[in-house]
């Protein structure tokens, strides 16, 4: 099916700023869905609040645009209630890991079959550029006019520690890799986390003098390396990309099915 058939074309052009990476996230994600041959009516996309969350309005799936930080909690209800549905949950970095941090680690702990996508632009964009828990030390933001003194989370390490059974990182520069990772994450049975670095030239880039979208994308190329690569071995200061964890682990809805079997037998 052509990619445009997965879109609600009447809402284009989209509302993201020129140079924003979120359009690339949408593009790569839809290519992955298309290559997997998924039926649109099997997919529920649940999002929270923020620039990232608007992605759910553009896709022709069942779309659930929820509350700030709560997308995974809504998605958990949808998934456990109807496990045959495929749940895609794109979130912003503040959405997923500040206000939604508790839901994030607990969804990972349950290993419920949901694909969580952290669209990490290291900033609160929709409210105009405040620092997020992924901005990192020494950054400028409208609420950090001097510099940030807050440490950032490592999304990959956090997800692994919390129990996610598939954890990957990619960027909007590496589009073929992103498509491949999304395909594997969606196909994986269990809680999958994909952190995708996505540039925000309007707020993060401007405040931190990282240049325009092209320069920010070039930085994703120069400052990252595939895990297991010689480049990363030579320079461990680079940020690793690729699939960090892909393990078989009992999935929550399947385990609940077993509980139901036992409970029904007891009554009978």
């Amino acid at each position: 099916m052509p990619i445009k058939d997965y879109l609600r074309e009447r809402f284009f052009p989209h509302m993201w700023c020129p140079g924003c990476g979120h359009g690339t996230v949408l593009n790569t994600l839809l290519h992955a869905v298309e290559q997997l041959g998924l039926d649109k009516k099997e997919i529920v996309m649940t999002s929270g609040i923020g620039c990232s969350a608007r992605i759910s309005g553009y896709v022709d799936f069942h779309s659930l645009h929820t509350l700030h930080g709560r997308a995974l909690a809504f998605a958990t209800g949808v998934k456990l209630s109807k496990p045959e549905l495929t749940l895609l949950v794109p979130m912003g970095d503040g959405d997923a890991l500040a206000i939604g941090g508790n839901h994030f680690i607990h969804a990972a702990r349950r290993n419920i079959d949901i694909t969580a996508i952290v669209m990490n632009n290291r900033i609160y964009g929709m409210t105009g550029g405040q620092f997020s828990p992924l901005s990192g030390l020494g950054k400028k933001a409208t609420t950090a006019p001097y510099r940030t003194i807050d440490n950032n989370f490592d999304v990959v390490a956090l997800s692994i520690a919390a129990g996610a059974s598939f954890v990957a990182r990619t960027t909007t520069y590496h589009v073929q890799e992103a498509i491949d990772i999304f395909k594997k994450a969606i196909g994986h049975k269990g809680f999958s986390v994909v952190e995708i670095l996505t540039q925000c030239p309007t707020h993060y880039g401007r405040k931190n003098k990282e240049g325009d979208a092209v320069e920010m994308l070039a930085k994703y190329k120069s400052d990252t390396a595939r895990i297991g690569s010689k480049a990363l071995e030579k320079d461990p200061s680079l940020l690793g990309r690729g699939i960090f964890v892909n393990r078989d682990f009992p999935e929550y809805c399947e385990e609940y099915e077993k509980i139901m079997q036992v409970a029904m037998k007891e009554v009978a």
């Binding site: 659930l64 709560r70 958990t76 456990l80 509980i259």
Partner: protein
């Protein structure tokens, strides 16, 4: 032995009512004094193919039931004071996105952690106005376990009929006290099932376009119609809109669908009202003391009656105005600082003759407590 005869806590009567009404999905978080609802459903739901999940917090529980409702299930969560506060944002979401769901609040003393193991009725106004913005809500209550059962069935029926969250406002005494319950036969009580659209695949479905009767047929997530659900103001397809007319019309719709049906939604019981000079208005466990006192005083020849409210929101103004028209005095019996009393004063002909008999110390108000005030009003001293 008749299996339908039980000796149960109020929380269990609520569980029985919910299962009778067709509950299929429950998400919750442990909190006194509502925990038994979650405990019982963790056992009962999977036995009938339903699903139970203990979420990481109260917020997540509320969000999870909304998600599950969108797949076509009848859903419920249960909580108490602090948990009810945490759920408010998502309750507003369910109001805005018109998602049927039932929220049980077994009230305890507040504010804050308050008095977790003791009774209170201090959340009446929170049930009405807890979430931000103009909206309407349905809140129901009951004063005995048979009524808890049937009002719980009503709550599910109203949630489906009006596509709205419905609050069941019980209290610690009702939740934990044990008494007799007879579970009705199947089909004895009417059940309202999910109204689903009859439109087929490929036909433009409008999830937010009311039919002529005001109801909005739903389409389950996973079925043929793909639409958008949002907490933003939205058009008839569910897509965000800040068009002033869309915003105004939607807000009117959300409020009117409930406020215009106050007569249909109103539930109450009356005891000795025909010739009553003194009327006690009460609800929940405090109504038991009011009814007890009325029976005693009637035996002594006093013309005193009770109007027991079983629906608190939308507030049954017309019923109260009519029933209290001939009364010399109205005494609102409740365990808060006058939350229902203020509503009663606003709707009766003579607000100066409305009095409050309350208790706010965590103890159940007794017939003697009410009698003290009654004697003063009657001019018989203290």
């Amino acid at each position: 032995m008749n299996n339908s005869l039980k000796f149960v806590q109020g929380n269990e009567a609520c569980v029985e009512g919910a299962l009778y009404a067709g509950l299929e999905f429950f998400a919750g978080y442990p909190i006194t004094p509502s925990t038994e609802v979650a405990e019982l459903l963790s056992e009962r739901l999977p036995q009938k193919g339903g699903r139970f999940i203990q979420m990481e917090d109260e917020i997540a529980s509320m969000c999870a039931i909304i998600g599950a409702s969108l797949t076509g299930r009848k859903v419920m969560t249960a909580t108490s004071g602090p948990g009810f506060s945490l759920k408010q944002e998502a309750i507003g979401y369910a109001c805005m996105a018109e998602i049927p769901c039932v929220i049980v609040n077994v009230q305890r003393g507040g504010p804050s952690t308050g008095n977790p193991t003791h009774v209170s009725q201090g959340d009446v106004n929170q049930a009405r106005w807890g979430t931000h913005g103009d909206h309407a809500i349905i809140a129901l209550t009951a004063s005995n376990h048979q009524d808890i059962f049937s009002i719980t069935v009503d709550a599910f029926n109203m949630a489906e009929t009006y596509r709205t969250p419905v609050v069941l406002l019980f209290d610690e005494v009702m939740g934990h006290m044990r008494e007799r319950l007879v579970v009705p036969e199947e089909e004895e009580l009417p059940i309202v099932d999910r109204l689903r659209t009859s439109l087929g695949k490929g036909v433009d479905y409008h999830p937010y376009l009311p039919r002529e009767d005001g109801r909005l047929p739903m389409s389950d997530f996973g079925a043929d119609h793909r639409y958008n659900v949002t907490g933003l103001f939205h058009d008839m397809w569910g897509f965000p809109s800040n068009n002033p007319k869309v915003v105004k019309d939607l807000l009117h719709h959300l409020v009117d669908k409930i406020e215009n049906n106050v007569n249909v939604i109103t539930r109450y019981k009356e005891y000795f009202l025909e010739d009553a000079e003194y009327i006690m208005i009460s609800y929940g466990s405090s109504a038991r003391s009011a009814i007890h006192l009325a029976k005693n005083r009637r035996a002594k020849g006093e013309r005193i009656g009770v109007l027991e409210l079983q629906s608190l929101w939308p507030f049954p103004e017309a019923v109260i105005k009519e029933k209290c028209a001939g009364a010399r005095a109205v005494i609102v019996v409740e365990m808060n600082m006058g939350q229902v009393m203020r509503q009663v004063k606003a709707c009766v002909d003579r607000p100066e003759s409305v009095f409050l008999a309350n208790r706010i110390d965590g103890k159940l108000i007794t017939p003697t407590n009410i009698k003290g005030l009654l004697r003063v009003i009657q001019g018989r001293g203290v």
